[in-house]
Amino acid sequence: MTCFHSALAVRLRVISAVILLVGAALFSSYGLVKGTNSSSHRRGSDEVTAYEARFAPARQVLPQYGIVCYVPDYTSSDAAKKDFFLARYALAPLVVRNVPDCDPLIGDFPDGAPASFLSGGQYLVLRDLGHGVLLLKRNGP
């Protein structure tokens, strides 16, 4: 009788351990599918593809290789940093330099170039490539 009870206890212990772990895993799988389902609806087209489309005209006028400089200052905010990284990916294999000390320059203003930037006289707009992307040249030496 004791032996029977002990065997039953072991059986219960093992079965409950497996059910607990595998059940928790399956519950997690259910949450995973449910979570990704709602996130797919929440988000639209991805930002990298959108950035590549914005920079497609720039890729046509810029040289295939070499260095291009970039404005504005990417350290000014997290959003500016992300814009810079996305521009760098979209323009590869061009080396994108975050210091405006070379020509040509790419001006990246997703919300449009601020008037102060354009009237500052520091840069000459060679071409407006649309969607807030400008091809620039430094004014002066």
């Binding site: 895993a25 590869a92 080396v95």
Partner: protein, 461 residues
């Protein structure tokens, strides 16, 4: 699409041929084949990335000649594997530990559900973000673009004039993506998605098949279900980061050490383990830390458990497998990326003596572990409860299991001290990298837990 499949199949076949030449020969080929196949996914992609980079350095970007060279290498490796398979007979008949049929069927069903859910989640993540997450397009795929689109200017990827991130990071992932793009003649995001998919699901495959061989099918099924049901593992896999490939190589190294201990005939398994560890170094800098910890653990535990001579006999094939990828990493570091941004000895002793930094890291790790993986319930307490309820066994993985555990523990200690001594803002580094570092060790940890835990059948007596 067809060219993508061909490029991946060639890499896979190269891996399979190498694994076939060095394969752990304790069973007939058939029961081993699934494990060899899953190991070959990472091995093949890793070896082909080495060849791609070497080709680029020596000959430059010549697509047709490169594809012909890979086909030639595959033919030679295939012939060697075929000759090896004919020459060597199996040593033992397959003895898979018995699993009660009803257990097995129920666990297999749970595994299939987790697999389908994981595949669905992966495909949805990849649809929403086909270029992966921040580090994918900010570093890994960006470098791949330079290697592929750069033509004869591919070295611009290492230019100090730009702001290229992590210039010292090794190239396995970027070169693998660039290699596939070279086949396709297009930088489509389908290539990195497919590579990420292969590494993510091959890791689950290695876990399942190795435990099925070493312990029981039920053990393999439970372990693989746990891994595939971990949301953050899938999220990181689909993000196209290098952490999941690195986790694959860590896991494969430890699995192969355990397979060698299971039946130590020949040195092929150890050479394969060395190759996997070497490919981990070629994947990410953390791989170098893992390798050092592995060599230290192997030395300490093997010398103590078996003596110096057996240790020497094991070390040689391990080093032989390790050498090719390690030589490439050394070449890469010396010629292209000697500077590392993560080691800054300036103020190191001050940071080491600052107790508050230890407190911050310990607290972040504690919190991170409790919520690790994105499960609705916390994984570590669940796994601990599972092992306590089923108990542990001491026959399988006696020394190799210890080596694996010591390697993971030392690597985790290494990560701890990297956080304590970093010159970067510590909170930011912990926030952005701690969950990823945990995922690097996670599949190996699951393997070791289920290797050492009793199977349900054993626990039932």
């Amino acid at each position: 699409m067809m060219l993508l499949v061909i490029s991946l199949l060639i890499a896979f076949a190269m891996g399979l041929a190498i694994a076939g030449i060095l394969r752990p020969q304790f069973h007939q080929l058939r029961p081993e084949l699934p494990l060899l196949a899953f190991l070959s996914v990472g091995l093949g992609l890793g070896v082909s990335s080495l060849w791609f980079f070497l080709w680029l350095v020596i000959f430059g970007p010549h697509r047709s000649a490169f594809i012909i060279s890979e086909t030639g290498i595959l033919a030679i490796l295939g012939a060697l594997a075929y000759a090896h398979a004919r020459r060597n007979r199996s040593l033992l008949p397959p003895i898979l530990p018995a699993t009660h049929a009803r257990w097995r069927d129920l666990l297999a069903l749970a595994f299939v559900v987790a697999l389908v859910a994981a595949a669905l989640a992966f495909s949805r993540y990849s649809t929403v973000a086909p270029h992966g997450s921040w580090d994918a397009w900010g570093a890994w795929n960006l470098r791949a673009r330079f290697l592929y689109l750069g033509g004869t200017h591919w070295r611009d990827v290492f230019s100090p004039l730009g702001t290229m991130p992590h210039r010292d990071y090794p190239l396995l992932l970027s070169a693998t993506v660039a290699r596939c793009w070279t086949y396709l003649e297009s930088d489509t995001p389908r290539a990195p998605i497919a590579i990420a998919f292969l590494f993510t699901f091959a890791a689950a495959g290695v876990l399942l098949c190795s435990l099925a061989l070493l312990r029981s099918r039920s053990q393999g099924l439970i372990a693989a279900t746990v891994l595939l049901a971990t949301p953050f593992f899938l999220l990181l896999g689909s993000a196209q980061y290098a952490d999941v490939p690195l986790a694959f190589f860590f896991l494969s190294t430890i699995v192969l050490l355990c397979l060698h201990e299971h039946l130590p005939t020949g040195n092929g398994t150890l050479a394969l383990a060395g190759a996997m560890a070497g490919l981990a170094v070629w994947t990410k800098n953390e791989g170098a830390l893992f390798l050092l910890c592995l060599l230290a653990s192997h030395f300490a535990i093997t010398v103590r458990g078996r003596g110096r001579k057996p240790y020497g006999r094991e070390l040689l094939p391990l080093i032989a497998g390790l050498l090719p990828p390690l030589a490439m990493v050394a070449f890469f570091k010396l010629h292209f990326a000697s500077h590392t941004e993560f080691v800054d000895i300036h103020g190191l002793s001050h940071r080491l003596r600052d107790i508050s930094r230890y407190k911050v890291v310990v607290s972040a790790i504690g919190g991170g572990l409790l919520h690790f993986g994105g499960w609705p319930l916390s994984i570590p307490p669940l796994l601990i409860a599972y092992v306590l309820l089923l108990g542990t066994q001491k026959q399988e993985g006696r020394l190799a299991g210890k080596i694996g555990l010591a390697t993971l523990a030392l690597t985790a200690c290494g990560y701890f001290f990297i956080y304590v001594t970093t010159q970067f803002p510590m909170q930011w580094l912990l926030l952005t990298s701690l969950p990823r570092l945990c995922i690097q060790l996670y599949p190996s940890a699951i393997f070791l837990i289920f290797l050492l835990a009793r199977t349900p059948a054993e626990a039932l007596g």
